[in-house]
Symmetry: C2
Subunit: 360 residues, 2 copies
Amino acid sequence: MERNIARLRARLAPHGVTLRPHLKTAKSVEVALQVMESPQGPATVSTLKEAEFFADAGVRDIIYAVGIAPWKLAKVIELRRRGVDLAVVLDTVEQAQAVAKASRESGDAIPALIEIDCDGHRSGVLPGDAARLVEIGRALCDGGELRGVLTHAGGSYAARGMQALQQAAEEERLSVVDAATILRDAGLPCPVVSIGSTPTAHYALDLTGVTEVRAGVFVFFDLVMAGIGICNVDDIALSVMGTVIGHQRDKGWILIDAGWMAMSQDRGTAKQAVNQGYGVVCDLAGNPYPDLILADANQEHGIITLRPGADGQLPDLAIGDRVRVLPNHACATGAQHRTYHVVHGASDLVTGQWQRFGGW
Amino acid sequence: MERNIARLRARLAPHGVTLRPHLKTAKSVEVALQVMESPQGPATVSTLKEAEFFADAGVRDIIYAVGIAPWKLAKVIELRRRGVDLAVVLDTVEQAQAVAKASRESGDAIPALIEIDCDGHRSGVLPGDAARLVEIGRALCDGGELRGVLTHAGGSYAARGMQALQQAAEEERLSVVDAATILRDAGLPCPVVSIGSTPTAHYALDLTGVTEVRAGVFVFFDLVMAGIGICNVDDIALSVMGTVIGHQRDKGWILIDAGWMAMSQDRGTAKQAVNQGYGVVCDLAGNPYPDLILADANQEHGIITLRPGADGQLPDLAIGDRVRVLPNHACATGAQHRTYHVVHGASDLVTGQWQRFGGW
């Protein structure tokens, strides 16, 4: 984890942009303190529960990066009154009007960023839709604060190869830089130009015009990121410990007490070149057994087998032996647990426990 | 939920078998108290954390129905010393020897059931493997207590049609009745003959020789159960509330603030005749909008669309409007939440909050 954080910081430093880490991956104060530039932030969150939780822990500069629903503005105002510079995200005139109205009524100009749709995968205004951008910006400025523009290259998860990743990063950058230009040309402010996804953050060549980069899963990495080529399997800092509870020797199965409840049902590598099942099985030091995966999972049972087509043999794992399983998706697997057990390097000595929170 | 519980009780009553509900679906004391015959049980759990949690709540008759790992026996003994009749499950001689040894050392004969593999989907001894059954039974009786045999027809989830479900139920029954006969013929005790899965519990015609039935998801039901034909969509007692946060009108998308973090990534209906995406979208009263599903999901974004091929039109849902989403798999969706908000019938008045716990 420490190496992953240092790597992204070193990568972004020459570009002169701020790293605003997404805290939704770990949902842990201890991880947040390591990944943020300072204990006050900046940070990104995906729920108001996270905003509240990290505000309680002292974070003071937060973007809530999921489109705002008007009824949530009361909580936003409450957190802002506690001294948190909490900004919201929106992509419609209705939301901008609601933010402006709540700002006027509360006497607090709520900052908002306009979400840009850089790759068609989710929400946001198309970067060239000047009329809508300006209309949203003007509606917002009727009491609220237009803080800037923001996008997320979720489509980069499907990019394969360095060139495709560099292109996804450049498209992400251009989408917000173009939108910022439209707003500024219309006489509107646009101080913040925010991009972010773990793949593009690691592959962008040019960040001209960008003021900050958001990324989340880079802190732990996972098999999906390894499959895209953003990290090596050895960089994955999160694993689930399981115990062997049985064998079905005629089928080549080893059963462990970690199923989908422990791993999540994220099967993100199923669409990649190498399908890792529910995870890659390692020894206690974190070294993968050759071709050994968690091929199937019930709620509390995991079925370990050799990867289809592999011609090795099963390791000699007896009942009671423990293994580590590397996850497809760190955000999803983390969410199945309430505590991180901290280990250093290949040691299995637990040196700390970090609480993880959840909910909305 | 109340109707679902009454239905299974009424179904099992004429067969004279005990209902030992699986508490892993809800992981809630309030639900457990409604679903169990008495506040003391009997009950089934999938983790020792559940056993501990429900023991604290007063439950005194529990089967921990995932194969025991020897290092967990210390916790089993601790719970038994607190007055809980906690039984474990195993399918190997090694485990039986470990249970017998721990029983001798603690002076407490730990009860264990031998798991039978009725349909090849997970763990267990093949019902006809008399040598292994007797060997396990004898190893166990060297200090421990052979409580009986247990199986779970997980394969019934893939059965389609009444006849296939009845057949899965009969195969489940025969597997444990045959195994019990083998043990008794060898002079070993086998008082408990335990079967259980929600599909087979609702379709078994004959329960001769069975002493108890375990089932879990029947308490809430879900879209997978509706797809198999065990319940109607109207029986589903669990839903996730989401708020509309945007539209991509040219794509026919409505975006809500409930993604896979709220729904889980269980896509169990993808293999069924009707793929329900991440869930069926309903109004606040729980009435499904025609052909409206949560077609895709990011961590905190859900994308609502019409079902592929449907020729209706999107309902007029504005930003800020709320919807309910029925889940594919109640166990998985429940696990994403820490509180149940209790409502009665079609009302959206919350009359209570029930805590849900997690972890291991």
